[in-house]
Point group: C2
Chain length 275, copies 2
């Protein structure tokens, strides 16, 4: 008898696992929304879209197995709250914003069903999840997302499990201050009116790599870069602190203080060698 119940459960969950899911992407007309739409559709699922006019929200949101929030960082929490009003506890809710503490907290607060925070560490120009990293922050009832995580795994994505707190702390360094550095370097080169092609003709491969990185940043929507830098107060503080470090070292250069510069470099070498 017990065996029979187990078999039935396994069979049902197996069947569920293979059933096409019904997914609604809020912000599905954005570039990342389109990427997820393409990937989920290609995997045999049914994807609906709720755009900025919220048309169809009242029919498309309550019936979905999964609702995926794919909107600018700035509006993520507000849109989570608005979306959650349409949901029953049977719908799983996830977001793909590049901060995780606030969106995961908002999803847990406003939705009583399954919740997961995702951060795809790539832009919408990639062709699939293959070789791409996705940070996964557990919220509530992770099992409801197994099919989604397996879809990404099957496409050779690398899933990195993290708490929202650890994720956000790392992203201050990986995203916010790096975006600020790249942006400032690009602004500086433009301000000095440097002949980029001429400089590349004389440059080492490292400089060429760096210019390529700047060019990729400049191909993005400016708003996205600004959103990433301003997303949290912690990020703004880190950027201020980075600018202070630039100033401190620039003053040593101005004073031609070789002794202090050596100390700075040596203690940094020491830190990196222990990593």
């Amino acid at each position: 008898m017990i065996h029979e119940v187990f078999s039935t459960l396994t069979a049902r969950s197996g069947a569920d696992h293979n059933l096409p899911k019904v997914i609604t992407i809020v912000g599905g007309n954005g570039r990342m929304g389109k990427f997820f739409n393409n990937q989920l559709t290609a995997a045999g699922h049914r994807v609906n879209i709720v755009g900025s006019n919220w048309q169809g929200a009242d029919s498309l949101l309550p019936q979905a197995d999964l609702v995926l929030i794919s909107v600018p960082i700035e509006s993520t929490c507000e849109i989570i709250e608005r979306t959650a009003q349409y949901l029953t506890p049977h719908t799983a809710l996830a977001d793909i914003t590049s901060i995780k503490i606030e969106p995961v907290r908002a999803m847990l607060e406003h939705h009583s069903g399954a919740v997961m925070g995702l951060h795809p560490m790539f832009g919408p120009s990639v062709e699939s999840f293959a070789q791409q990293k996705v940070v996964v922050c557990s919220g509530r009832n992770d099992a409801a997302f197994d099919w989604l995580l397996n879809l990404m795994r099957n496409q050779q994505a690398e899933l990195i499990f993290s708490t929202p707190e650890e994720h956000d702390q790392m992203m201050v360094m990986i995203q916010a201050t790096r975006h600020f550095c790249r942006l400032t370097q690009a602004v500086y080169l433009a301000q000095e009116k440097i002949d980029i092609d001429k400089s590349l003709s004389m440059s080492s491969p490292v400089y060429r790599q760096e210019i390529d990185i700047l060019k990729r940043l400049l191909n993005q929507n400016p708003q996205l870069c600004i959103d990433i830098m301003l997303a949290t107060e912690e990020r703004c503080q880190a950027i201020k602190s980075l600018a202070d470090t630039y100033n401190r070292l620039a003053r040593l250069i101005e004073k031609k203080d070789r002794e202090e510069l050596i100390k700075e470099i040596e203690s940094t070498q020491n830190f990196f060698s222990k990593q």
Copy 2:
């Protein structure tokens, strides 16, 4: 008769061209000095070294076909002057320092024979000149260096001909301010005690590339990095100006001034798109 003279000249210059040269490298015990020693020796030339004690200078310098100055930027001009005292006009004199205005001027002033400024755009860890760039600044009697430039070309080096002025202006951007940026980023990561391995596990490929660049910088002798930043007053000024740009943008971040940030990004995008 005329034909005969021409033949003889051609034969002689052809013979000269293939004769092993006698080369003295001043600073030949440094890492770049050793690289040139290895390459020139492997090509069949006879290489002697004058080290920091100047031992053998009075016999090795006057008899050389080529004297190559391979010493720290800081002491290049002083050592050019000291070296030139030993030379006859039959010796060709070149340097490989990463600034070119002052060394080429010093060589032209203190030596009456052939002069050329070179800047290999690579570090001593490469195995040959293959696929490497070398900036070449003509000084006097370029023909005396044909064999040397051909040796590099035959190894698939890319030679970039430039004036010392154009070279130095470009290197402010390619070398001095970039070194300062990389150094500051490394100092900042150390100061914030970031867990580099953890950050790499969550990162995009671009961040990984950037950390690799920082690690390579930190593997160098700190003095070299400092020499590159402090080499000219123009470099120190450019670094100050870069730090000012960091500050200007950091203040916009602090004020969360999206409108001004958009303007900065858009005008930079505009500049890069016209390049």
